[in-house]
Amino acid sequence: MVFFALPFLGLLWRVPWGDAWGLLTQRSSLDALRLSLVCSLSATAISVVLGVPLAWILGRVGFPGRGIVRALCVLSMVLPPVVGGVALFAAFGRRGMVGGPLYDWFDVRFAFTTKGVIMAETFVSMPFLVLTVEAALRGLDRRPEEAARTLGASRWYAFRRVTVPAIRPALVAGAVLAWARALGEFGATITFAGNLPGRTQTMPLAVYLALESDTGQALVLSLVLITVSFGVLVGLRDRWLGGDPGTLR
């Protein structure tokens, strides 16, 4: 307990409370804050749109090599984020396997752009959503879906009206976890998208940069990140961490 709590207490102790508001509202902080929110929310949205079908395929469709595909899909969760960033760069960089043709033919660039930040954050955070939703789908009683089918519902209609409401808690938990991971993403972002203020410099990057020049700003931004993360964990307590039945409302 103490071991976990002490670093945060230390941080609170060091925060220059008098200048906190000023440090937080200065241009570089606000830019980082705005960029972090935009990118992490976009990454979450993309994770939901792509991750739910992926979870469905992994959880419901039997095909050879499913274990390998699943491992591949969640690999970025266990890799050092820097390695993920290097891999992204190799694929989507200016001279990358996919990035090269994209740039030459469509003038689309990912590396060192805001799009790149979103891509890097999606890359590392989507596995959280996929794993959560897949587990829920596997544990789900499929018979209500069958009942829906006999009532004339297509697979898609049954999925929307019956399955999604049933896995909603897991979907929400997965999305929030993915969002929290995207918000804190550092390694893949700085490797793939760089550290350009206003374009690719998200909060964690700003913290890292500020630590060299302005410790106060780094502390205040850290505090914001900690508050958000803590809030998410407390909010998820019941759904994800099992919660304590004694404290339920």
Partner: protein, 354 residues
């Protein structure tokens, strides 16, 4: 619509191969022990399980024929299903559950809700429209599930053990009610059950399914009179006497009187008597039994540790004895015998049957 099905499915241990035909307007019960393949048959008919062999025709549409590479998805079959534990959608109200089928078929929301509401009203569930499934009793949930299956007016209605999940009191009530909804002109109905009383109360005809095969079929009284397997003899071999109850006496359709438990309400009903509840005597018995008949032995049938004696008399009955009991009585074909039965051993089920 009629149903013509030749269902061949292999599923683990089970090898199901059953032919079932139901005419339009007819209710057929599929009766069999656990593990016989009843639910598998239902799933194949509904399209939740594809056939390995055979062919299913609903009306004049072939919905499954592996040889011709035909498989119609469940949502495109004219089928309604009432599942054993109802499977109501827990996140929707009773009304939304009943409207689901119409909404899934693309009907506008207001129209679907209005029609669902009229179904609920017809089934006496109007006041419960806004309740969620967990706020409904077993009997109410069953009727909501039935209404949900009926709103799309399926040509084939399938019910999986419709009464199994209900407590005994509710069961009697629902059983009486259900019959009314099942007989729909122009539509075929299949009721899956392991309870001969349900089969008798709900269906015109039974198909007996054992270990994946149809072992017997026909009107239930005919099937029970000529049991062709141990299962039918033991489980379906319940004596069923149809008649009308007046003042604690059931006047059988054949004319005989059967004294039944005193608290039985008046009205059309049938009595179910276990063969082992009937005692046989060489001389007219004295004692507390209220029902005593002079009978003739039609035949004697040995099933292992049980002996079944078919009797003809004021009511035709089957009695069951031990081999030792038979020996003591020294009974033979065509001999005269007295049968006695306590009123308390008679189970009476109200019925809306002609």
């Amino acid at each position: 619509m009629s149903l013509r099905a030749d269902v061949g499915v292999r599923l683990g241990e089970l090898e199901l191969r059953a032919e079932v035909q139901v005419r339009a307007g007819e209710v057929v019960a599929v009766l069999g022990p656990n593990g016989a393949g009843k639910t598998t048959l239902l799933r194949a008919l509904a399209g939740l399980l594809a056939l390995d062999e055979g062919r299913i025709e609903i009306g004049d549409v072939v919905v499954d024929d592996p040889d011709a590479d035909v498989f119609v998805e469940p949502e495109h079959r004219s089928v309604g299903v009432v599942f054993q534990d109802y499977l109501l959608f827990s996140n929707l109200t009773a009304l939304e559950n009943v409207a689901f089928g119409l909404r899934a078929r693309g009907r506008p929301r207001a129209e679907a809700r209005a029609e669902a509401a009229s179904w609920l009203d017809r089934m006496g569930l109007g006041p419960l429209a806004r309740r969620r499934p967990r706020e409904l009793s077993g009997g109410q949930a069953q009727r909501v599930a039935l209404a949900r299956a009926l709103t799309t007016e399926p040509g084939l209605l399938l019910l999986d053990e419709p009464l199994a999940a209900l407590d005994a009191g509710t069961r009697v009530e629902v059983r009486r009610d259900l019959r009314r909804w099942l007989a729909r002109p122009g539509a075929a109905t299949v009721v899956i059950t392991h309870d001969p009383v349900d089969a008798y109360a709900l269906a015109d005809r039974v198909v007996v399914l054992e270990e994946g095969r149809v072992t017997q079929q026909g009107p239930l009284t005919e099937v029970t009179a000529h049991p062709r397997s141990r299962y039918v003899a033991e489980l379906v071999g319940t004596n069923l006497v149809a008649g009308t109850v007046v003042g604690g006496v059931l006047r059988a359709d054949g004319g005989a009187d059967l004294v039944v438990p005193g608290d039985t309400p008046d009205g059309p009903a049938f009595a179910a008597v276990r063969p082992s509840a009937i005692a046989l005597h060489r001389r007219r018995p004295e004692g507390s039994a209220r029902n005593v008949w002079d009978m003739t032995v039609l035949d004697i049938d040995r099933h292992g540790e049980r002996v079944r004696v078919r009797l003809r008399g004021p009511v035709d009955l089957v009695a069951e004895l031990t081999p030792a009991g038979l020996e003591a009585l020294d009974l033979h074909h065509d001999e005269q015998v007295w049968a006695s039965l306590k009123a308390s051993e008679v189970a009476v089920v109200p019925a809306d049957r002609p």
